[in-house]
């Protein structure tokens, strides 16, 4: 289970925050104000280790089972998440940040709910699932076969009885350089050319599309529930029951939902302080879902140094 509190003091030194809430729309701009150094990495490491602990344990458990007929003792030392390629690590970083920012800035989020992330789901393998269906790694054949990947991130708000009273779900995206066009591609989909007219237009299949079309109860909630059942069925039994009710019952009041969009990356070179990528005054017209929306822009100056610094040192002491 993820139990580590976010390192609030160091986050306050590291980031300048500017938040607004207008009705059901919240916008939070977080700008890096102090360079990444050993102290920042050291302060954040426990949170990252806590977030990755569950996935790491299961990864290691399965890797330790060798099916080769001549296998004797497990010989390898592939350590999750260190063994992931750098692109995947950046995706994971975005997801952990979504959790950390949700927990650290919950007072500045729309609705002012109390959020907790009992276990992190790291579903950063969308394109990799093609391997699973095709049994091939040939890039020419790698295309999406079955594709509804659901939200990247799920967190819960629990009442005193431990029941889920609201959940937060959404997309956490990392881009190395948050230029205007990179963000547009992210939110509205890549450019596509009309074969007949030759006109170029955004495909429309970006974050807005995904977040608008997500099922009222996201599939990620079912996965999160399964992990709670495995890891702490007694402690979370009230939450487990309320997720059952949300998923199964026809006439149950729907579980209130907050959508989260977190965009993290290094600011564009021509960016000025307090520039925003997604308007803060009101939710864009592209957003059509009926739920509260919280946008977080995490603008860094040396994000890669932080990511590489963190992921190269997770669990180093233990090993």
């Amino acid at each position: 289970m993820h139990t580590c509190e976010p390192p609030l003091e160091i986050i306050e030194e590291w980031l300048a925050s500017n938040g607004t809430i207008r009705g059901t729309y919240g916008h939070l701009l977080l700008e890096q104000q102090a360079a990444t150094d050993e102290d920042l990495i050291a302060a954040m490491r426990p949170y990252f280790e806590s977030a990755h602990l569950d996935a790491r344990e299961y990864f290691h458990r399965q890797i330790a089972i060798d099916l080769h007929p001549d296998a004797d003792a497990p010989g390898a030392h592939a350590c999750y998440p260190g063994c992931l390629p750098s692109t995947a690590r950046r995706g994971l970083f975005g997801e952990v940040m979504a959790g950390m920012m949700t927990e650290a800035f919950q007072g500045k989020f729309v609705g002012g709910h109390e959020w907790r992330i009992p276990i992190f789901l790291f579903r950063e393998h969308a394109d990799v699932e093609a391997y699973l269906w095709d049994l091939a790694r040939d890039p020419a054949r790698t295309r999406q076969i079955f594709g509804r990947f659901g939200s990247d991130f799920v967190g819960l708000s629990l009442n005193d009885a431990g029941e889920v009273v609201r959940f937060i779900a959404g997309e956490a995206k990392w881009r190395q350089r948050l230029t205007k066009s990179a963000v547009e591609s992210l939110m509205l989909g890549p450019w596509e050319e009309d074969e007949e007219t030759g006109d170029r237009a955004r495909s429309g299949r970006g974050v807005w599309f995904e977040i608008n079309r997500d099922t009222p109860t996201p599939h990620g909630l079912r996965q999160l529930q399964r992990l709670l059942e495995l890891r702490d069925p007694e402690g979370y039994q009230a939450a487990i029951l309320s997720i059952d009710q949300a998923i199964i019952l026809d006439n149950a009041p729907p579980l209130p939902r907050t959508n989260l969009i977190l965009i993290a990356g290094n600011g564009a070179r021509d960016r000025k302080a307090l520039d925003v990528l997604i308007g803060w005054e009101e939710a864009l017209e592209e957003y059509t879902a009926p739920h509260d929306l919280q946008v977080v822009e995490l603008i860094l100056t040396d994000g890669e140094a932080l990511i590489d610094g963190l992921y190269s040192t997770l669990w180093q002491e233990a090993e």
């Binding site: 399965q62 089972i65 269906w133 049994l135 199964i248």
Partner: protein, 581 residues
């Protein structure tokens, strides 16, 4: 038990009652089913909107969730989970057979097949998957696994290893997951973890198929442990659909392990450890014939066979009773010690046609171990027949009339050797109440009496002979047959209301100058109806009405009906549909 489990069960049961009662369809389900039949029969379908497909898919997912709750709390055998799995399989099958566009977005056939497997309907799973042609090798592999086609799994995984020989080295998996190691031209940007996962999944499924086939429990345990770990990993890293397929495959694999034919056969071998090798060979042979995973009805039958001697097995046609009969033959003829005389079993069948069929089956499976002979009719046996005096265990397949005649001539020779009596279609012992029965009673040609008479005489001469009755479900014969065959008032039949396929009985309604419709009245032996409605489920046959017939034809009810049936059949037969009139 956590204190909220009762509430979780109640939540799940609310959904089961609303969506998963066997012979009760919700209105949207009835529409989905009708659309599926219309598509299969290639007649124009009812109006259908995309949102209805999504609604059905969402229902299927909810039912899977309910099934999960039932299994978590009540265990893998939960009857309520089975209800939910079966309806999930049906809903997804209806979408699949209606060529729904969801098929391209979600692996609905894999989910449907897994749900059918977990609902104890393996034949439905294979029936659906047989129709699926896929260019994706992973989908093909999982489909083979979900239809228990273990040879197919081994073939497909072998093809995978042939394509990737470098992955067969003993350290390949670890090198694959290790950062920096060079293997198979992987570079830093490739997601090694995803590829590693896929490779390990192929390994697990291949090994599970192979160890099930060979009855190698130690390797099976290792492969299962790996599959569990992969499933848990998938729940954390894959999309809901992919992790759902994984999780269901893992549960199906659990089911295969529990239903492997090796388990009861090895238990049976305890009667005569010298014969264990033969039984293991038989189990392997059954796997080669695609029958290594037992159905619920077979497991129950074999369980009873292990505990008792005489009993009645009451399950529908197509539920695999023959295997239980075969194992009874093995138990009584091959495993028991005998006092010099080669043991004999009499296998009574109701018709000559069936005698031939049973003989062929038995000869193919047990012909190497025992003499299989059948008496059909005419002068097909004589006193010099080899099997009468041979020293091999013998199975004699006969109709009751033939067996009766034989017993009159050769009674002492036969009864001295007789160890086992198998009665196929034993419900015939309970006579129908009708005019024909009364007549047949009075002229001494009644089958029920002959059967009872024959068995009674055998029991009088050999009270210790083991009796096994195989009966159909309908007609309420199970209990009387069980009491009779066991000779105890408190006897009960081994039985499950289980059938391996779906049976629908309906009525074709026709009228002059109108298109016909089919009322779907009975599904799997129970009246089918739509929840909360008087109206039955009907299937409009949107085909051209039959042209106006000449007066002589249309004024005769019989002729009109015959031609209407022919007209309808001609429309349905166009595309490879089999119609029997």
């Amino acid at each position: 038990m956590p204190e909220l489990d009762a509430e979780r069960l109640e939540v799940a049961d609310t959904l089961r009652r609303a969506l998963a009662i066997e012979n009760e369809l919700s209105r949207p389900q009835a529409r989905a089913y009708v659309r599926c039949l219309q598509t299969t029969w290639q007649v124009p379908t009812i109006q259908w909107a995309e949102r209805e497909s999504f609604r059905q898919l969402a229902d299927a997912r909810r039912l899977l969730h309910a099934a999960h709750i039932f299994r978590e709390i009540e265990g893998a055998g939960s009857a309520r989970a089975i209800d939910c799995f079966r309806r999930t399989g049906e809903i997804l099958e209806w979408l699949s057979r209606a060529a729904d566009t969801l098929r391209t977005v979600i692996p609905i056939e894999l989910l449907a097949a897994a749900a059918y497997q977990l609902g104890g309907l393996p034949a439905m799973a294979s029936g659906l998957l047989r129709q699926i042609v896929t260019e994706h090798e992973g989908v093909a592999l999982y489909a083979a696994f979900l239809k228990a086609d273990f040879d197919g799994v081994i073939r497909l995984s072998a093809a995978f290893w042939n394509t990737h020989p470098d992955l067969t080295a003993s350290d390949a998996s670890f090198r694959l997951a290790e950062p920096g190691a060079e293997l198979d031209e992987l570079d830093e940007d490739d997601d090694r973890v995803g590829w590693f996962f896929t490779v390990e999944l192929v390994r697990s499924l291949g090994l599970i198929a192979d160890s099930l086939h060979r009855g190698d429990d130690a390797r099976l345990e290792t492969a299962m442990a790996k599959l569990y770990a992969l499933d848990e990993m998938a729940a954390r890293t894959f999309s809901d659909d992919a992790s759902l397929v994984l999780s269901l495959m893992r549960q199906v694999a659990d089911g295969y392990k529990a239903a492997s034919i090796y388990r009861p056969l090895i238990a049976l071998a305890a009667l005569n450890p010298d014969r264990r090798g033969k039984l293991v060979a038989y189990a392997r042979d059954q796997f080669s014939r695609g029958r290594g995973i037992l159905w619920t009805s077979q497991l129950q039958g074999l369980d009873r066979l292990l505990r008792d001697s005489s009993f009645a097995l009451c399950t529908p046609t197509g539920s695999g009773k023959t295997l239980v009969a075969n194992m009874a033959l093995v138990k009584e003829l091959l495993l028991r010690e005998h006092d010099g005389l080669a043991p004999l079993a009499i296998y009574l069948v109701p018709s000559r046609a069936l005698a031939g069929e049973v003989e062929a089956k038995l000869r193919s499976e047990l012909g190497g171990e025992m003499t299989i002979t059948a008496l059909y009719g005419g002068a097909d046996w004589g006193i010099t027949d080899y099997w009468l005096t041979g020293d091999a265990p013998t199975v004699l397949i006969a109709t009751v009339e033939k067996a009766d005649a034989l017993m009159r001539y050769l009674g002492p020779i036969l009864t001295a050797r007789l160890r086992l009596l198998i009665l196929d279609e034993a419900h015939q012992i309970v006579p129908d109440g009708g005019e024909n029965t009364r007549i047949s009673f009075s002229d001494h040609s009644n089958r029920s009496i002959r059967l009872e008479n024959f068995v009674s005489r055998v029991i009088a001469q050999r009270p210790d002979v083991v009796r096994i009755a195989l009966t159909a479900v309908a007609g309420g014969a199970a209990l009387p047959v069980a009491r009779w065959i066991e000779g105890r008032r408190d006897a009960e039949a081994v039985g499950v209301r289980y059938r391996s396929t779906r049976q629908i009985i309906g009525v074709l309604e026709t009228a002059p100058n109108a298109t016909g419709r089919i009322l779907l009245e009975i599904m799997n032996g129970r009246t089918l109806y739509i929840r909360g409605q008087e109206q039955p489920v009907y299937l409009p046959l949107r085909m051209q009405p039959m042209p106006q017939l000449p007066a002589a034809m249309r004024n005769s009810l019989n002729r009109f009906n015959c031609l209407s049936v022919l007209w309808t059949a001609l429309h349905l037969v166009e595309e490879d549909q089999r119609i029997l009139i």
